[in-house]
């Protein structure tokens, strides 16, 4: 859920690893978080990007605009 709207990936895995203190769950956590991010990425952009767009701030997206 947290990965679904903030799109944190690796840092979130590390945080969950530290809080649950169980290294055994590393790979399941990774899979779950990557799956959540991918599914949410199909539907919307992240919460903070949407907030920036709502305030109409100029931001660069993932791809650089091809204007010379």
């Amino acid at each position: 859920m947290l990965a679904g709207y903030t799109r944190l990936t690796y840092s979130l895995v590390i945080i969950m690893l530290e809080t649950t203190t169980s290294i055994n769950l590393f790979i399941p956590m990774m899979i779950g978080i990557m799956m959540s991010r991918a599914v949410a990425g199909l539907m919307t952009r992240s919460l903070y990007e949407r907030a920036l767009r709502t305030k109409q701030m100029p931001v660069l997206r993932g791809s650089i605009p091809r204007v010379n």
Binding site: M1, E18, N24, P28, G32, I33, A38, M43, S46
Partner: protein, 189 residues
């Protein structure tokens, strides 16, 4: 004693080593949480839009906050009362590690109310409570308990993020994800 670290350490001790059986569960829970996260973004964006549109004066914002907190407090107080169910909190053998997590709401001595234990603990303790359900000596939940808890948290987190109070998104996200995983586990069993 780590009294202040209750929000950071969830204190999980005996988790069995994962096998290949839990991989489909990872995919399914991840997909469900992804859909919920996307829904969160969409609904929260619309809520922000409506806030900009209707709440134009400064004095309206505390009133909105008051209305929301009244609703949330009412639901949190009455949900364990309406769906009350008492279970015994004593183990036949040995001592219990989770004695401070049990909340006897309207139950008699020696019993606890599962929904009250989920809702009345602090946010870090709520995660601890959910995880302890998988272990002996922990709290026992039914599918309906978990569904109710997830829906209460999800519905109110979606609506209230953005009101005129400083509020975090970190622990609510973790709690909702944790409750979703627990719900899936109960359904699978």
């Amino acid at each position: 004693m780590n009294l202040n670290a209750s929000a950071l350490k969830f204190g999980v001790q005996n988790i069995s080593a994962p096998t290949l059986k839990i991989l489909p569960g990872c995919f399914i829970v991840g997909a469900i949480c992804g859909v919920m996260g996307a829904l969160f973004v969409i609904v929260n964006n619309w809520m922000g839009f409506f806030r900009k549109y209707y709440i134009t004066k400064t004095w309206m914002r505390p009133i909105e906050t008051g209305i929301f907190s009244l609703c949330i407090t009412t639901v949190f107080f009455w949900a364990p009362y309406v769906f009350a169910r008492c279970e015994s909190n004593t183990l036949p053998t040995g001592t219990n590690d989770y004695t401070d997590l049990f909340v006897a709401y309207t139950c008699p001595e020696g019993m606890y109310n599962p929904i009250a234990s989920l809702l009345f603990n602090t946010e870090g303790d709520a995660i601890k409570t959910i995880i302890s359900g998988q272990e002996p000596g922990g709290l026992a939940f039914t599918i309906f308990d978990m569904f109710l808890f997830t829906m209460i948290w999800f519905g109110f987190t979606i609506v209230t993020y953005g009101v005129w109070v400083p509020a975090g998104l970190f622990l609510p996200g973790m709690i909702i994800g944790c409750a979703t995983g627990s719900f899936y586990t109960l359904v699978e069993q």
